[in-house]
Amino acid sequence: MITTRILPSALLDVRSPQRLLERNAMVYRRSWMVIFSGFFEPLFYLLSIRIGLSALVGDIEVGGKLIPYDEFVAPGLMAAAAMNGAVLESTMNVFHKWRQAKLYDSILATPMSAGDIAIGEIGFAVIRGLMYSTAFIFTMLALGMVKSAWIVMSVVACALIGFAFASIGMAWTTYMRSWADFEYVPAVTLPLFLFSATFYPLSSYGSWSWVVQLSPLYHGVVLVRASNLGEWSPSLVVHAGVLVGLSVVGMAVTASRIKTLLLK
């Protein structure tokens, strides 16, 4: 019974969230280009940095080892791609389905519940992000940037990033009133993208490094980087814990907001 007090009832009543996946798959089957073109975004970034910036920057020291700049940046780009995919799907797309298409109103008239919708939509955003992460690993493999077989674990790390950002993103979207409010989304994701130890090591931030550690993306970047190098340490549990915690909060807020706003 403790769970019922911590989690809102809306999140406990979940039975068929996979129906939302089915519905979204039906839609994207016709506009697959939208999904497909997303594979290229991180790829282009990686290639550009490899071709140009690597020569300018030279090698960079991480944990006592010198590695080429593009190999340093790759995990950061992979984590950022997971974040961006999840945020895009859970903010703009959800807002359209909720406010304009009234999709959730019609779904709530069926046996589906608010929790089903929350988990289903968040799950879909995560899966979409995972497709990109997986493709990214193959790109790194093709470019000879993979350091360890543990790289497969970075898919798990990206799933955690996706969950955290999709959940928080969708929860935030339930508070949005108009499209103009979406101007603020990049105002949040852009600093996270730039300042999460993605483009240079935490040590470069000097005395500002504690700010970086407030970024949820930073915790994801650490996990992906550890996977790529196959270097495990107990502290990673804390980084994963932060992402799991955000996911649970976001999902709970989303489910209960759907319930209070649409079932009134």
């Binding site: 019609s106 779904i107 069926t110 046996p111």
Partner: protein
């Protein structure tokens, strides 16, 4: 008599300070076509949403299939079909896909959903539009897709909120025809409307709602017999001059109602009443005798017209 499908006692819906539904009592029997007739803002949609388990009851008792919506919403919703006031079709999907995915929300296997969807599109005469997107369809066609969609789960109870509002006469008649067929097959229909002709056409029994309350209840015929006469004589004396002619027509019928543009005289025999007025040299600009309708019942009960 079997137990009612829907039972409401002192049912109330509040939105903050506003009381949308103000203590209504309703019983709907299986196989019945039951209507809520009332003007905009009467509380019809609020009532339907509570029955559809998408809006919590503020106070009073509500049971559907003998179940409590507060705790068994999912079970109730799996047994009802809903046609909402505004079509909420999935714009990103085709007509066929709309039906199939809706069936999936009810956990109906895909193959079953497919074959039912084909049958239902046939039933609503939209088989040829199966692979079109929803958006280009006309209002009446969208309404028929909504009805087909609501039937995909083979519901025991169908809720229709203003099924024909905004449709042209031809589209309305096609829709009425389909709903009649459903009635003949024994479906239980609950519908709302602010058209008296629709209520007369479709409902076995109805309640008249106004300001969140039920002001009358019965079959369309019984309500007309109770609250109106057999016929109505409508006369126009020209704008602004109707009021001053009331005295001239008094005594001809049982009751006179004054509307801004005409006088209504409630009588058993309209033609002879008109003849009598002619004899008294009361000559209106135009006169018309018609059968009385639920509109007259509503006017009698509230002093207002249904559609203004």
């Amino acid at each position: 008599m079997p137990p009612p499908l829907i039972t409401a006692r002192s049912l109330v819906k509040r939105f903050g300070d506003l009381v949308a539904v103000d203590g209504i009592d309703v019983d709907v029997q299986p196989g019945e076509a039951f209507g809520f007739l009332g003007p905009n803002g009467a509380g019809k949609t609020s009532t339907m949403r509570m029955i559809g388990c998408v809006s919590p009851v503020s106070s009073g008792r509500l049971e559907i299939f003998g179940l409590d919506p507060a705790h068994e919403g999912r079970a109730i919703r799996s047994r009802i079909g809903v046609v909402p006031q505004l079509d909420q079709l999935d714009q990103e999907l085709t007509v066929m896909e709309n039906l199939v995915i809706y069936a999936r929300y009810f956990d109906i296997p895909r193959a079953v959903a497919q074959s039912r969807a084909v049958e239902l599109l046939d039933f609503v005469q939209l088989a040829d539009r199966a692979d079109d997107k929803v958006d280009p369809l006309s209002g009446g066609q969208k309404r028929r897709v909504s009805i087909a969609r609501s039937l995909i789960s083979e519901p025991e109870l169908l809720l229709l909120d203003e099924p024909t509002t905004g449709l042209d006469p031809q589209a309305r008649h096609l829709l009425w025809d389909r709903l009649h067929q459903l009635k003949e097959r024994g479906a239980t229909l609950v519908l709302t409307t602010h058209y008296m002709d629709e209520a007369e056409q479709l409902c076995d029994r109805l309640v008249v709602m106004d300001g969140g309350r039920i002001v009358a209840e019965g079959s369309p015929r019984a309500l007309i017999t109770e609250y109106a006469t057999r016929e109505v004589l409508e006369m126009r004396f020209g704008r602004g001059r109707n009021e001053e002619r009331v005295d001239d027509v008094l005594g001809v019928g049982e009751r006179v109602e004054v509307l801004p543009d005409r006088l209504l005289v409630y009588v058993a025999d309209g033609e002879s009443a008109l003849a009598e007025l002619h004899a008294r040299s009361v000559i209106p600009e135009s006169a018309l005798v018609r059968r009385s309708s639920l509109e007259d019942v509503f006017l009698r009960l509230t002093g207002r017209t249904l559609v203004d």
